[in-house]
Amino acid sequence: MSPNRPPVLPHQAATQAGRLGRHLVRSAVSAAGVALVVAGAMLNLALYGMQRSALVDDTRVQAQVTADALAPALLFDDRRAGHETLEPLQGWPALVAAAVDDAAGHRFASYHRTDAGTQAVEALARPSWRHEQVAVPVQHDGRELGRLHLAVSLDGLHRRSAWFALITALAALAALGMAYLRTLRVRGAIDRTEARLDELAFVDPVTRLYNRHAANEHLAARCVGVPGAAPFTLAVLDLDDFKVINDTLGHAAGDRVLREMGERLRAGVGEAGTAYRHGGDEFIVLLERVADEAAAAHAGEALLALLRSPLSLEGQAMYLRGSVGLARYPQDAATQADLLAAADAAMYAAKKSGKNHFALYRPEMRQPERSRLHIEVQLRAALARGELRLHYQPIVNLASGRTVGAEALVRWQHPERGLLPPSEFIDVAEASDLIVDIGAWVIDEAARQLAAWRALGLARIFVAVNASARQVTRGALERQVTSALERHRLAPGMLEVEITESLLLADAECNVRALQALRQRGVRVAVDDFGTGQSSLAYLKRLPVDKFKIDRSFVHELPHARGDVAIITAVITMARTLGLRVVAEGVEREDQRDLLRALGCDDAQGWLLGRPVTANALAESLGADHVPPNLDRAAAGAGMTWGD
């Protein structure tokens, strides 16, 4: 694939390139040709008509003169004089024959050119295409003495007309040739313009990849529905977090990311297929000769591998993440639209199973209720109807083994599909402003729950809520937190806001201000998924945060993965230095917990320490954990231990 070559799509055969220019040249030259032929023919006809009419006029004048001179000869019956009178006519080359008849109609005298033959005299009476005939009366003194007939040859006229026609034709040909040369010059410009138009129509200006339009044309040509059509695989690659980059770093940065992605796809796909920018942060790749599942899976891996190396953005290394869905033609879908929808569905399935995944299409992926728009509409209604729930996963202090807090995790109590995890709907919410409303609800609900627990006299735990990019960048977060704290009369230290590392870094200045405002109110800020973003150490110390949450990916292979151990050790050491707390996520086994404790990690959460449960279930376990049975009632009644 070459970026600067105008795309030749299936609908454009090679011969069709420059069709506009050819058409122009053809019509311009033929129009000029028609004009020249018509003008030339008119000119020739008019000229012929005028010359012939002039010839007739001349002949008539000559006939009058001759008839006048002939009058005495006729009058005195002098044939010799008659012949003598006609004789000077031989000086007139065009004259074929002349004859004088007397009043009785008898031939009195005649003359004909020797080369014209006697026949010409006899032919005088007959019209011929080679002769023009003129007859005038011979009069004298008011008496008609006879008639003079003159026949002039049209040969000379015809010869001149033929020459003129030839000259006209040659001039027309020359003019046509010049017109052709001129249009050829214009044609170059038109060809270039046409190519440019094609490029504008089919090439995405940012990535220099083919665009959605080209993809549709190309796919339509490939999905012809004929049995035995060449099989291929369609991959949809969607960049995760691209909206965050666009929203926080600006569109120029977003364009750089897209351009880089385009370069990688171009280089990575090479001759094996064609890459298109399908719109927004979505790319599609048509992979030729990838027909079976193994090959498709291999292609999915290869596409994800393109994301692996970091991307330099404003001097920082940044990792792109994306999800890839693959669908095969014709196994998975018979039409272009179905194939795209299938690959899309596979991509969403991949996204749901986590970032940087790919998925091959399975028919069950395309349940209508799972479509984005459907989910968004339902989710909006769910928010209004109160179908969202918060579950709480305990955060345990590793030293004491006590639950010190809980992370609030949103669930959707779907009327038909049951309780849905965030992976089913959060992406949809994040793609729209819905996430701001959901975020507000989460904060308020968490605050309400904290107030309720306080009323029950439960031990003092904090609740961590996840904030999304849109909440932070629109300045909604601080308002939401403030109003929730005020409404439920909570101490700010009861709430903790979790921000992902990549979000924190995306538009640092703006986010730092928002988080500083929160911290000034006493709300703690934790960095979620720590280690997956690209924090620079120098930068970290300036961040207004209280806590790092070590991403589960570093915990997963503990205690055996030496690299992970080293990373966690480093993070903990660094946090110590900066005066921050460290929480480990995804702790599933005891050896992991023990190691983390040994490394000096403050807190941890994970299935080993407690799964996400309802507020009541958490309260029960906390009750058992924190509240001595004999003090239960008193604590609940007094509530004096809260609020410091």
């Binding site: 006048d68 001179a69 009058a71 005495p72 000869a73 006729l74 009058l75 005195f76 019956d77 002098d78 044939r79 004089a81 003598e84 007397d102 009043a103 009785a104 008898h106 009195f108 004298h140 003194d141 008011g142 008496r143 003495l145």
Partner: protein
């Protein structure tokens, strides 16, 4: 060809008329020698035709608005043949035949535009008298030396000579077209 007369005409008159209309055709078609047919009507027709090629001084013609007068001695052989031509148009005028007899006075030069001269002494005297007069003198055959036009019979044809010098004395002119037809032209 003119339409034939409705009533029988004398041969001479018929001939003259035909000569007037299609002289050439008649003469040419005639297989007889000129003498065999009456020659006078032909001569009369030639005279009549010649009149149309002669130019008179304008003052002469102005005196007489619409007539051209041809004078002839009534005894002249051509007189009978000329009579049918009286009243015919010549150069937009009417031909008037003025016949004089021996008893009459000789015609005055101012009354005749043309004169058919015979060989009588009176004619000779008259012509002598008219040397400078604008009268076209026509002679039939030899004699009348001063005649501007002289008719001859030659090879069964009637031809004429023109004496331009004689005519010029009377301030008369000839159309060049007719000079070409003359057998002889005397300057």
């Amino acid at each position: 060809m003119r339409s034939p007369p409705a009533r029988p005409s004398p041969p001479a008159r018929r001939l003259a008329l035909r000569a007037f209309g299609a002289l050439g055709a008649l003469v040419l078609a005639s297989p007889w020698p000129a003498r065999a047919v009456e020659v006078e009507p032909l001569k009369a027709a030639i005279v009549y035709n010649l009149l149309s090629f002669v130019e008179w001084p304008s003052d002469v013609l102005a005196a007489d608005a619409d007539a051209l007068t041809l004078c002839i001695d009534a005894r002249h052989a051509l007189a009978p043949a000329l009579r049918p031509l009286a009243g015919q148009p010549v150069r937009g005028r009417r031909l008037i035949l003025l016949e004089t007899t021996a008893a009459d006075e000789a015609p005055a030069a101012r009354r005749c535009h043309a004169y058919i001269a015979g060989r009588t002494p009176r004619d000779a005297a008259l012509l002598q008298q008219w040397r400078q007069a604008p009268v076209l003198v026509i002679a039939d055959g030899p004699g009348a030396e001063e005649a501007a036009i002289r008719l001859h019979e030659a090879n069964d044809r009637i031809v004429f000579d023109i004496d331009v010098a004689s005519a010029r004395r009377g301030r008369l002119g000839f159309s060049s077209r007719v000079l070409r037809l003359a057998r002889q032209v005397h300057e």
